[in-house]
């Protein structure tokens, strides 16, 4: 049975002398020109990480009983929490728009005999799923359904 290849399986035993120039950062990196949205895209990582930790706290409180739940809800109403969540919501929309626009371009031309759907169809499917999931979950959370 085949084993997964060692990560360095193709590396030469003795590294060869590089003949390329040492890498240099472009002068516009990281906050000018086309690098700005790229850097902001990376910076959303910290907001996602923190949002995940806050969500963990909320779910944990739900399992700890009504008093813990009530206390957490009161803390979430603090202006700093609201500001953080509003900023994170903006970041999430930015990530969604950027990623769903990029996704069709990143698809392989073919996987075996199968071809991906045309880019506009793929984009429409992604945005449709985003709107459906977000709208459905928002309705559930807001008490509109169930």
């Amino acid at each position: 049975m085949a084993r997964p290849a060692h990560p360095h399986a193709m590396a030469p035993s003795v590294p060869g002398r590089t003949r390329t120039a040492p890498p240099q950062l472009p002068p516009q990196f990281p906050l000018s020109g086309r690098y700005l949205p790229y850097t902001l895209f990376g910076a959303t990582g910290i907001l996602y990480l923190l949002a995940g930790l806050v969500a963990l706290r909320v779910v944990w409180a739900l399992g700890s009983g009504p008093a813990a739940w009530q206390s957490t809800q009161q803390q979430l109403a603090h202006p700093l929490y609201v500001l953080f969540h509003a900023l994170t919501l903006a970041a999430v929309i930015f990530v969604g728009v950027r990623f769903f626009r990029l996704f069709p371009k990143a698809q392989p031309a073919k996987i075996g005999p199968a071809k991906p759907p045309p880019a506009p169809v793929l984009t429409a499917m992604l945005y449709g799923a985003w709107i459906a999931v977000s709208g459905g979950l928002a309705l559930v959370l807001a008490g509109g359904i169930f």
Partner: protein, 119 residues
């Protein structure tokens, strides 16, 4: 550690991708309603009383959604922050940054699993 990270890279990229795709879809509604709507009074706080939140969250689908809502953004965040650190600071600090960030994501995912089992 470097070799372990290289071996885990396909799994980490998968979790990162799902963090962007599914995490973004779930976080949009969560942040809009729980993070902003209810605290600002746009959505009635009665929508998420303890009884209602518990009855929604303790179903199988509710637990799966809550687990994904916590774990996937953690992996997206950790992987993106690691790459931002590589872009801005190079490889030198990666032996500390990568295990730290992935450790937070892994521990958070484990706690998320415990949290949804407790419901």
């Amino acid at each position: 550690m470097k070799e372990l990270l290289l071996r885990l890279e396909p799994v980490i990229w998968l979790l990162f991708g799902q963090g962007i795709m599914i995490g973004t879809m779930l976080l949009t509604a969560w942040l809009a309603v729980v993070g902003v709507g209810i605290p600002l009074g746009i959505v009635s706080a009665d929508a998420l009383t303890y009884e209602r939140a518990f009855s929604l969250g303790s179903t199988l689908i509710g637990r799966l959604v809550l687990f994904a809502l916590v774990a996937l953004p953690l992996w997206k965040g950790a992987h993106h922050m690691r790459h931002a650190s590589l872009d801005l600071g190079g490889l030198e600090r990666d032996p500390i940054v990568a295990p730290l960030l992935y450790g937070v994501a892994a521990l958070g995912s484990l706690l998320a699993l415990v949290a949804v089992i407790r419901l």
